[in-house]
């Protein structure tokens, strides 16, 4: 019995030293498994963290921790006066990854850019159908209609010609789907009869190279020694896939990982008090809103929409639902995006004013409506069901009887897109830091049967954002977007509810981890204290 106890003690206890003593290994307790390693094929942030943000580069980059665009694989670019031609000068001496099944014979050049875009764009491209061949981001950014041609001028110059001016085009080039693959590797894998390896064991130019993926368990990267921006401080980067937030937190406390995403709001207080943990926070690049279906009565009436804006006690919602991890939203774009109009005054909570406006609109005795509540937790709305209940109570106070409706998530998206709702709770997280990515995508006339859940098509607004889309000058665009926000506020197709705050608990030995406004987790530039 004694020997049995000794054995148990040997097995269980003899290991309490922190497992992460190796200063050059950083472990990220990621929230889920990537769908794959080709960021062009998927749309989830989890996949982007594991692929584009570690393995690949793009022509332009977003400065770490901000939405500012800076040169990436393109050293510089010119935009023609008519805004139709973008000429990128590519960086020289950029080395591609050397892996166990590929040793590059050349450095990065224009062929890699052409391959990466043509594969997504050209249906007849040799690799278009590879790995299912659905390029949802490329399509949803309307690239097939936008692009007229992509030409190689020389080995280090690429020219993109557009069908119409599109100011956010540069920002699009920094998005994950625009990651640059190795054309030589693709050719080599095709010749070897293993084209699937292009996506399963990808080769890029990024700071880390994929070493191994054990499905649903661990992703292992090693540093790219010849990275063009300089070798990363971390030698080995490990994603330890841990879906449960409570378990992620336990692992962080125990030192089994250095960084964790998406903490439980209830754990934040304890994290703040823990001397081993730094709790980083930043306003998210997102918006949670309640959209009125402006095609349906009575929401076609601006007065009714304004009235209901007055009726909602936004601060109470932020305190109760976001538990302080959110700020009241007055504009449809978050304050971290350029052109945010801080001069706008939000509708204050004023039920009496709401009642008088309703009476003026002919609804003095109120009306019946619905509030659609999402069945899932999203970054911009931690608890839509509870939020809907609070809004329902606020509406009752001004005589509006609302029924709460919910569906399974996919069904919810489909039906709300089809306009079956009267009012719907939803939100958005920005893709590229451009105001157009909120204002045009969510409120433009072109989206009125799609992502524009208010189905709101207001010509003066649409003209302004259309003009901003065609103008390259940022100062001019800023003025136009500020005007658009004023029109939006007055027309009130939504109740803008909140921009949520993003929390990132990291261990105290982690140096210079920055919260990415796009929700990503980027480990280039991060180091560990010995």
């Amino acid at each position: 019995m004694k020997s049995l106890r000794t054995l148990a003690a040997f097995v269980l206890i003899g290991y309490s030293v922190s497992q992460l003593a190796d200063a050059a290994t950083l472990v990220f307790c990621s929230e889920g498994s990537p769908e794959g390693f080709n960021p062009a094929l998927y749309t989830s942030g989890t996949t982007f963290d594991a692929s584009s943000r570690a393995i690949f580069d793009r022509l332009v980059h977003f400065r770490r921790g901000s939405t500012v665009i800076e040169p990436g694989l393109a050293e510089s670019w010119d935009i023609s006066d008519d805004g139709l031609v973008y000429t990128f000068k590519l960086r020289r001496n950029v080395k591609l990854h050397t892996t166990k099944n590929f040793t590059p014979t050349r450095e990065f050049n224009a062929d890699d850019v052409l391959y990466s875009f043509n594969r997504q764009w050209n249906k007849d491209h040799r690799d278009h159908k590879l790995s299912g061949g659905t390029y949802e981001y490329f399509n949803s950014m309307d690239m097939p209609n936008l692009l007229k041609s992509i030409d190689k001028v020389d080995d280090y110059t690429v020219r993109f010609t557009l069908n119409e001016p599109e100011a956010p085009f540069i920002a699009n080039m920094g998005m994950d789907f625009a990651s640059i693959f190795s054309a030589e590797y693709a050719d080599r894998m095709n010749a070897a009869g293993t084209p699937e390896k292009i996506d399963l064991q990808p080769v890029g130019t990024g700071p880390f190279q994929l070493l191994a993926y054990q499905k649903d368990a661990v992703i292992r990267y090693r540093v790219h020694p010849d990275y063009w921006q300089g070798k990363a401080d971390i030698d080995t980067l490990i994603f330890s896939i841990t879906p449960d937030a409570a378990v992620r937190y336990a692992k962080l406390r125990k030192g089994e990982c250095h960084v964790m995403p998406y903490p439980n709001p209830a754990d934040l207080e304890a994290m703040r008090k823990d001397p081993e943990i730094q709790l980083l926070e930043q306003e998210g690049l997102n918006i949670g809103y309640l959209a009125f279906n402006t095609e349906k009565k009575p929401f076609d009436d601006q007065l009714v929409r304004q009235a209901l804006n007055y009726a909602i006690n936004k601060q109470a919602i932020i305190d109760a639902i976001y538990l302080g991890a959110g700020v009241a939203a007055k504009n449809p774009i978050p304050p971290t995006i350029w052109s945010y109009n801080d001069d706008i005054n939000d509708y204050p909570y004023d039920p009496d004013k709401a009642k008088s406006l309703l009476a003026k609109a002919g609804y003095g005795s109120g009306f019946d409506t619905d509030i659609w509540a999402m069945p899932v937790q999203r970054p911009y709305n931690p608890n839509a069901r509870r939020m809907a209940e609070m809004i329902q109570a606020d509406f009752t106070k001004v005589g509006v009887n609302a029924k709460i409706v919910t569906f399974e998530w996919g069904e919810y998206l489909k039906r709300s897109k089809a306009g079956e709702h009267q009012t719907v709770l939803l939100g958005w997280t920005g893709d590229n830091g451009d105001p157009d990515n909120f204002l045009h995508v969510l409120l433009g006339c072109a989206a009125a049967k799609g992502a524009n859940r208010a189905r709101w098509c207001h010509k003066p607004f649409d003209d302004v954002i259309g003009q901003a889309k065609r103008t390259a000058d940022v100062a001019q665009r800023t003025e136009l977007y500020k005007r658009a926000q004023a029109i939006f506020k007055e027309q009130a197709p939504w109740v803008t509810i909140a921009h949520s705050v993003v929390f990132k608990p990291v261990r105290k030995e982690v140096v210079d981890f920055r919260i990415d406004p796009f929700g990503g987790h980027i480990f280039y530039g991060v180091s560990l204290k010995p």
């Binding site: 269980l12 290994t25 790995s131 368990a217 896939i241 879906p243 378990v247 089994e256 569906f407 939803l426």
Partner: protein, 336 residues
């Protein structure tokens, strides 16, 4: 024996079709569109939406979809995941060893603890040990796995620091998997400390998953033992003057274990259900977690294929148990 086996194998065929029909129908009865879920808030152009549905074969009438599915199945093709585009069978084979490993360890834990506890409780019927162990096993049986697992993590991993929180092995060990079974692979790798790390990682998930089977085994052993201890042959053995432990272990236990074997067969189904939660909490890369994720994403081929494969395994284990039952129970053998 041959006839018995033959009947059992023939019976598997309709069960198999039943499972295909059930999984196919149930997942489609639940609202949700895989294409919508793939694109989220971003939305998708209606024409492209229709095109993608057509590519996935979801535009056809349900009966036609089912017929295509069965035809593929007969040809040995379980289809490709809608999300990862990987063949379902490949994904299953990559994850299944992890589930087998945790399940076998859980069952071994349940037997190693459950049988002795059941025996002692039966022999000392009415004692404090009897009441305490049976009370505890009832608690174990009714405990929510999710809560139990978190409790174990907080106590043993976070507070006492005895075991790691989750995963199959410390992330610092890296070797190519040879068998998919971490205990074996870590042993074969020759890296010092790897095997020990794998054992330590296995401890809490096995205890969590083994808790319900443990409770069942302990209670079953006790009641079956009590029955056997009152039999004439046990009294005869005692009258012969045999040592009490010999009476219990050699004469009574062998017979008392027969129903316990049946229970183990049935427990395999319970284990898979438990594995879903256990794997999610302990970030254990097995088929349970994979199936849950496929429901959430409406990944029809993964769910259909995965459930079918799991059902196949459960049927196989039950068949083996039936055979084993025939072998260890002479009465059954002689009847045939």
């Amino acid at each position: 024996m041959f006839r018995f086996l033959f009947t059992r194998i023939i019976l598997i065929i309709p069960t198999f079709f039943g499972v295909t029909l059930l999984t196919f129908a149930l997942i489609r009865l639940v609202p949700g569109d895989p294409v919508e879920l793939l694109v989220g808030e971003r939305g998708i152009d209606p024409a492209r939406h229709a095109m993608l549905r057509a590519e996935l074969g979801l535009d056809k009438p349900l009966l036609a979809q089912y017929a295509i599915y069965i035809k593929q199945l007969i040809g040995g093709d379980l289809g490709h995941s809608i999300v990862t585009k990987e063949p379902v069978l490949n994904e299953f084979l990559a994850l299944f060893p992890a589930t087998v490993e945790i399940s076998v360890c859980a069952i071994l834990f349940a037997l190693a603890v459950g049988i002795p506890v059941g025996i002692i409780a039966a022999v000392r019927r009415g004692s404090i040990f009897d009441y305490a162990s049976m009370g505890l096993s009832l608690t174990g049986y009714s405990m929510p796995i999710f809560w139990w697992a978190l409790l174990l993590i907080l106590l043993f991993s976070v507070n006492l620091g005895w075991t790691p929180v989750s995963g199959r092995i410390s992330v610092l060990y890296y070797f190519e998997p040879a068998t998919g079974f971490m205990l074996i692979d870590s042993w074969l790798s020759g890296e010092s400390g790897a095997f020990r790390s794998a054992v330590r990682h296995l401890a809490l998930p096995s205890v969590t998953l083994g808790t319900i089977p443990l409770a069942i085994v302990a209670r079953m052993t006790r009641s079956s033992m009590l029955e056997v201890l009152n039999e004439d042959y046990v009294r005869t053995a005692r009258a012969k003057g045999l040592a009490p432990w010999r009476v219990v272990v050699v004469h009574a236990l062998r017979n008392a274990l027969i129903p316990v074997v049946t229970v183990i067969g049935l427990a395999v189904g319970v284990l898979f259900t438990g594995a879903i939660l256990t794997e999610t909490i302990f970030a254990w890369p097995g088929v349970g977690k994979w199936l849950v994720e496929s429901v959430r994403r409406r990944d029809y081929p993964v769910l259909q294929g995965g459930v079918l494969l799991v059902a196949g395994v459960v049927m196989l284990v039950n068949l083996l148990v039936d055979v084993l039952y025939g072998l260890i129970n002479p009465r059954l053998r002689y009847q045939r």
